[in-house]
């Protein structure tokens, strides 16, 4: 029996098939954010409350940055969830910053009022901040650790449980290179 020949044949074919099967368990469109692990780009933001917040002054704290717009359905979906996460986390040295982009300031104020959002929010009028953060769609969220490094990026709506988990990880300076994806499905 040509056992050896069969063995050689299968030794070539089977790993190849295994590799192709492995393809089902990955997302081919997944691209890691090059920003993860890098220092968070500095910016200061004029808040709706009239104060000014400067990200570079927040070293030693965990910072959660959320980019949103009033017209975006997933942003509406996550708004109340983010507020509830903020209420639980605000005493734990976590700072939330909401950055309204691609929108008018009046719409932004209305949005914050409508959903009773109490954490710092402001409109980016320059358009520079989302470019620095490589924001492609909205909403997108970033977690910054106490050393000022971005440790996690999330695309799409994010829930309170994940915000809490990632804040805790950020405090321990744990990085996640794979970017997260929102659960929200848009209806076309």
């Amino acid at each position: 029996m040509p056992v050896r020949r069969l063995a050689i044949t299968f030794a070539i074919i089977l790993p190849l098939l295994a590799l192709l099967a492995y393809g089902f368990f990955r997302d081919p469109r997944y691209i890691p954010s090059p920003l993860v692990g890098k220092p968070a780009p500095a910016f200061s933001l004029q808040l709706f409350s009239g104060e000014k917040i400067d990200v570079s002054a927040l070293r030693g704290k965990v910072v959660f940055i959320n980019f949103w717009a009033s017209w975006c359905p997933p942003c509406i979906a996550e708004a109340k969830e983010l507020e509830s996460a903020w209420r639980r986390l605000k005493d734990q040295d976590v700072v939330f910053i909401g950055v309204e982009i691609q929108d008018t300031e009046a719409n932004g104020r209305g949005f914050v009022k409508e959903f009773g959002i109490t954490y710092p929010n402001g409109a980016d009028t320059t358009g520079k901040i989302p470019i620095d953060y490589g924001v492609w769609g909205i909403p997108e969220s970033f977690f910054v650790d106490p050393d000022g490094r971005i440790v996690y990026k999330h695309v799409g709506a994010i829930g309170p449980a994940l915000v809490e988990a990632k804040s805790a990880e950020a405090r321990r300076r744990i990085m996640t290179t794979k970017e997260g994806k929102g659960e929200y499905q848009s209806i076309r």
């Binding site: 040509p2 020949r5 044949t9 192709l20 099967a21 492995y22 089902f24 081919p28």
Partner: protein
């Protein structure tokens, strides 16, 4: 009702296919001739039933029977009738239906052609067909049913993907599928030969025309795909090395290698295992291609729908690879003992080198295509492989292959003499230098294009020179004029002259690719009405914008007046097409072709605020038209090679052939 008939026919055909698989096994066990006939009846029954199912689907598409989900997804009431028919291959389920239909037509043709011949192998050949057919029927019946109904019935359908609303889409998928499916024929005969243990040259001789036919469709399918990409996608290119394109191209490489290496086996009884392996690889790659296209394991610009079929195709691929190569390994004892190559300067060794190069190209492209998978499996980090890798790695291989087209057909079998080399290659070499010198003087100084032009000229010169010698000999021998001498030569040795004409076609394609790769010019500008953009010799002036209503969409056209070197060429109107169900517009590029270069205009955008301002992208791509003309020449060559032969009477008098006789 239509859905019931269609689905019923598929289920019945599946049952028949299972019978078709069982029959040869029972024939083998019992020796009862009833089973020989039933193997054939099963194929013919499947042919009838699948034709009924396919016709039912076309009928439903044409009559916009929206109770069938596939119809609702791929037509609308406004869809013109021809695009309703092409909706058959507009999405996954219909494509599989078409594939199965072509497959069973091929099977039926084989069953009919060889009904009284090849008594020993034929039942096994038909069994292989039934296995492949059963697989596709199972997918159609249970996983990806084109006759799935929906309730409530929608008032109107969603319509074909707008990119597919193009006349090239009428031919590209059917051509490609025919090429893919055609490879099943040599594969089935190869497997039958292995099962029976008759591994001589018979299966190769039997399938020669089938293989050439499949190769032809594969070539045309890829070329029409490139043409569609160039004409419709509006990016100015014809090939992007996208995984799905690679999937369509990869089977072509082993199929081409196979066409050449079988000649070595026919003539010298060498390369038996190699040839069997090549055809297994070629056939597997057609299934692999569908797996790749439909599984979504790789990121592709071709956004095909994914579903459970990816897994099913992978399973089938596993079965094919394991069973085929297992059988080959099992039969390897029968395949031992072949003659050795006599000399490195011989036709055998040239063909072998051609095979090595083709398989290297295949490996290179295969590796590049699945590398993102491999890299992520090993390192955990995703990597993307783009056109630069493929171009850098494959262009030298393809150039070497083109060069071999000059050597292979002319060099002698076994051992080429110095005289043979001098006689066939001296003048063509001189001619190629004579061609490249003025090209150099005219200002083309880059290495790759110069080398490419020289190689192409050399190949063309060897072919023309050899043919000229043969024509001269015939005129002396038979006193014919040039045309009848050419006709006699082609008729007497169809395979050789058909092959040479195909080679000329490939040379033209190589020139087209070389020119458009190396010397394209690209400019982009936003123009107001009356403003002019100058690109090369061309002056392009915006006359204005206009909106046009079409049956399925409306379009905004930019009207440009084009002059070349002061001479009026006329108005060109690239457009953006707006489909009601699509968020972003689809470009409609226009181009003006000449033998020298193509002028290609893409409307990238227009201002909605200011009237008559348009953003225009202009490409000037030299020699592109030769790619398509080369395709025509290949078609001609293939016809010469496969048209039914007349009986051979005399020895052919091509110079290389004369020497072989000597």
């Amino acid at each position: 009702m239509t859905a019931l008939i269609g689905h019923g026919a598929i289920l019945l055909a599946f049952a028949l296919a299972l019978g078709g698989i069982a029959a040869p096994l029972l024939l083998h066990r019992t020796g009862n001739d009833v089973f020989r006939a039933s193997a054939r009846v099963s194929i013919l029954g499947q042919l009838l039933l699948v034709t009924i199912a396919a016709t039912a689907l076309i009928f439903a598409l044409v009559n916009t029977d929206f109770s069938i989900q596939y119809v609702a997804m791929n037509t609308t009431r406004a869809t013109p009738i021809y695009y309703r028919v092409t909706g058959l291959w507009g999405a996954l389920e219909g494509s599989l239906m078409l594939w199965e239909w072509i497959l069973i037509i091929f099977s039926g043709l084989v069953a009919w052609t060889y009904k009284d011949r090849q008594r020993e192998t034929m039942p096994w050949v038909l069994m292989i067909f039934s296995i492949v057919s059963a697989f596709f029927l199972a997918v159609l019946a249970f996983a990806s049913n084109p006759f799935q109904t929906i309730a409530p019935v929608p008032a109107d359908g969603r319509g074909l993907n707008p990119l597919l609303e193009d006349s090239n889409m009428m031919s590209h998928p059917p051509l490609l599928y025919t090429g893919f499916v055609g490879l099943t024929v040599p594969y089935a005969f190869a497997m039958a030969a292995l099962i029976v243990g008759k591994v001589d040259e018979e299966w190769i001789v039997t399938t020669r025309r089938w293989t050439i036919t499949a190769w032809f469709f594969l070539t045309m399918g890829n070329l029409v795909g490139a043409w569609w990409s160039y004409h419709v996608l509006g990016w100015g290119g014809y090939w992007a090395w996208d995984p799905v394109e690679n999937a369509a191209f990869m089977p072509w490489l082993p199929a081409t290698a196979f066409l050449h290496s079988v000649q070595v086996q026919e003539r010298r009884r060498m390369l038996k295992v190699w040839n069997l392996s090549l055809i297994i690889v070629a056939f597997s790659l057609t299934i692999f291609g569908t797996f790749l296209t439909r599984s979504g394991v790789l990121s592709s610009i071709h956004a095909f729908s994914n579903g459970p079929v990816g897994t099913i195709f992978l399973a089938f691929l596993a079965v094919i690879l394991i069973a085929s190569f297992g059988l080959l390994a099992y039969r390897a004892d029968l395949l031992k003992g072949q003659p050795q190559i006599d000399s490195m300067v011989s036709r055998e060794s040239t063909f072998l080198l051609n095979n090595v190069l083709l398989v290297s190209a295949l490996f290179t492209i295969f590796l590049g295509t699945i590398f993102p998978l491999l890299a992520e499996a090993v390192t955990g980090k995703p990597v993307s492989v783009g056109a630069p890798y493929f171009n850098t790695a494959t262009v030298p291989i393809f150039l070497a292959l083109v060069f071999l087209m000059a050597i292979g057909p002319m060099i002698a079998w076994r051992r080429a003499s110095w005289d043979n080399l001098r006689r066939n290659f001296l003048w063509p070499a001189v001619a190629s230098i004579a061609v490249v010198t003025p090209v150099f003087i005219l200002g083309i100084h880059d290495f790759l294009p110069l080398l490419g032009i020289m190689v192409c000229a050399f190949v063309a010169a060897t072919i023309l020179f050899d043919t000229a010698l043969a024509v001269r000999a015939r005129r002396r021998l038979a006193g014919e004029n040039i045309f009848s001498a050419l006709a006699t030569l082609a008729r007497r040795n169809q395979r050789r002259y058909g092959g040479l004409v195909v080679h000329l076609g490939i040379v033209l394609i190589a020139l087209g690719i070389l020119g458009s790769m190396s010397y394209s010019v690209e400019r982009q500008a936003t123009l107001g009405r009356g403003e002019t953009l100058q690109v090369g010799n061309y002056n392009i002036r915006l006359l204005g914008l206009r909106a046009v209503e079409q049956p399925t969409h409306y379009r905004v056209e930019g009207i440009f007046d084009v002059t070349r070197g002061g001479k009026e060429i006329g108005a060109l109107a690239p457009a953006l097409k707006f489909f009601p169900n699509q968020q972003s517009p689809i470009g409609r590029a226009v181009h003006k072709s000449t033998f020298g270069e193509d002028l290609y205009l893409i409307l990238s955008g227009f201002s909605e605020l200011q009237n008559n301002r348009a953003t225009l992208k202009v490409l000037v791509r030299p020699l592109v038209v030769w790619i398509w003309l080369g395709g025509g020449v290949i078609a001609l060559g293939t016809l010469i090679a496969i048209l039914p032969a007349r009986r051979r009477q005399a020895v052919t008098v091509s110079s290389a052939e004369l020497e072989e006789v000597a």
